[in-house]
């Protein structure tokens, strides 16, 4: 019996429920326009996930998880065959770059991010290929589906809410001009800091998401939080489309100009005002 259809009729939640209850083994492929996700299951447990437009290779996963630096991944790529994840993993452990635990945690996190992202897909063709497992060179981590379904459903609700609150990703952000008040005691994650450093009336939220390699869900959530905290506000994007380059986001199509070519347009009078203010402090 072929398990094929469209998410419009049979949702991700329902599919995962089915796979879990029937203890299925095989690969679920979901496609919508140019995107494609593959989830592999063994006896009802998720063991592997990949998303077409994301970094799925181990070194990229570790880079994203902050376990390796860009510089390190460059060196590693030059030294070792980075297409076999298992081989690469062993090499990294032996060379002392990461521990086995780092690898498993990062892969697990990466898999969960992909599945949770799928919960936001309301449309898309799916098919389940029984008994098909990931290629042997991939690292698998078994994850029980019960909690994934609960968390995914929670996020889906949150997502719907976020879409209502923050409908337009083509808006830009800027810091609010209410100093002092809400910034105190905010503790931000690295992801949030990355977003903060791209905040500029020239960059749309969508561009920030691309530059920081975040999904729409992640960026919406972070921006929503910042809006709520009064840290930023929405503005219409100014002028040309420019996003600052980041060494973390390797996969962008056209390389952006280096920041060296874009000195900020600050007037002399602005510098004079800064000087006066600091003197008074």
């Amino acid at each position: 019996m072929a398990l094929k259809g469209n998410l419009r009729d049979f949702s991700i939640t329902q599919l995962l429920n089915l796979i879990n209850l029937a203890r299925k083994t095989g690969t679920l492929t979901v496609e919508r326009s140019s995107e494609r996700a593959d989830l592999c299951f063994r006896e009802g447990k998720l063991v592997y996930a990949s998303l077409g437009n994301q970094h799925n290779r181990l070194d990229q996963i570790l880079l994203k998880a902050g376990r390796l630096t860009t510089e390190q991944t460059r060196l590693i790529q030059a030294q070792v065959n980075a297409t076999d994840d298992k081989e690469l993993g062993l090499w990294l452990i032996n060379a002392g770059y990461v521990t086995q635990k780092d690898i498993l945690q990062s892969v697990r996190q990466h898999m969960l991010e992909i599945v949770y992202q799928l919960f936001t897909w309301t449309d898309g063709k799916f098919r389940f290929e029984p008994n098909q497992l990931p290629p042997p060179e991939r690292i698998t981590v078994p994850i029980g589906l019960e909690n994934v379904i609960i968390e995914g459903t929670r996020r889906m609700k949150e997502w719907e809410q976020l879409q209502d609150e923050l409908p337009d990703l083509d808006m830009a952000l800027r810091f609010t001009d209410r100093p002092g008040t809400s910034l105190r005691n905010i503790s931000l994650s690295i992801e949030e800091w990355r977003v903060i450093s791209f905040i500029n009336p020239r960059n749309t939220i969508r561009q920030i998401a691309q530059a920081t390699n975040m999904s729409e869900f992640q960026i919406r959530k972070i921006v929503y939080g910042m809006l709520q905290a009064g840290l930023v506000e929405l503005v219409r994007p100014e002028g040309r489309e420019v996003a600052p380059p980041s060494r973390g986001g390797e996969r962008r199509e056209a390389p952006l100009p280096p920041p060296a070519q874009r000195p900020p347009a600050v007037k002399r009078s602005v510098v004079m005002r800064l000087i006066d203010r600091i003197k008074q402090l």
Partner: protein, 185 residues
């Protein structure tokens, strides 16, 4: 919606040079910083380190705000550097004047930032209140700082000292602006 202009300056330097302290001393808000306890023995010369960046602010008036960003000192967070350097008006390289083992790294950091943006910068020789501090003159030589670049004594815990460093950077920025203007005429 207002037309507040924000300008950004970056404080960089090696691990434990005093970047967080520097920003904390002058910022009007409590520094928003992502710090965490240090786990590795080799780096246990203090309790906490900055893992992403520090974030401080000085409001000039209702339409001008200066943000101070401090970079994380540990190498494994250097992916933040380029992000932080985008659009900066200038930067400060803090040197730990009592730990010569960090000078080479300070020099590397300086070169890296200069490559990101051709903005003016100053070098601040921090912890000058400590007995073992290297002098500003010796540091200039040890770090091979060019003649046109200021090397300033600094005590990051002292407000007046931090103010002086910021002012010197702003003066350098002004000088650069004037020189560029003269060139284009």
């Amino acid at each position: 919606m207002g037309k507040v202009q924000t300008v950004k300056m970056v404080v960089t330097g090696p691990f434990a040079a005093g970047k967080t302290q520097f920003i904390q001393t002058i910022s009007e808000i409590e520094v928003v910083s992502t710090e965490r306890k240090i786990s590795s023995e080799s780096e246990r010369i203090k309790e906490r380190t900055t893992v992403a960046m520090d974030f401080g602010r000085i409001t000039v008036d209702e339409d001008l705000v200066l943000y101070l960003f401090g970079t994380p000192g540990q190498k494994r967070f250097d992916f933040m550097w380029e992000i932080l350097s985008e659009g900066m008006l200038g930067f400060i390289v803090l040197i730990d004047s009592v730990r010569p083992e960090t000078f080479r790294e300070a020099r590397n950091i300086l070169d890296t930032f200069r490559a990101y943006a051709p903005t003016p910068y100053v070098v601040a020789a921090n912890k000058q209140d400590m007995e073992d501090a290297w002098s500003v003159e010796d540091l200039r030589i040890a770090l091979r700082i060019e003649d046109g670049v200021k090397v300033l004594p600094c005590v990051a815990t002292d407000r007046e000292s931090v103010k002086r460093v910021l002012l010197e950077l702003l003066y350098s920025i002004l000088e650069r602006m004037d020189a560029e203007e003269a060139e284009s005429e």
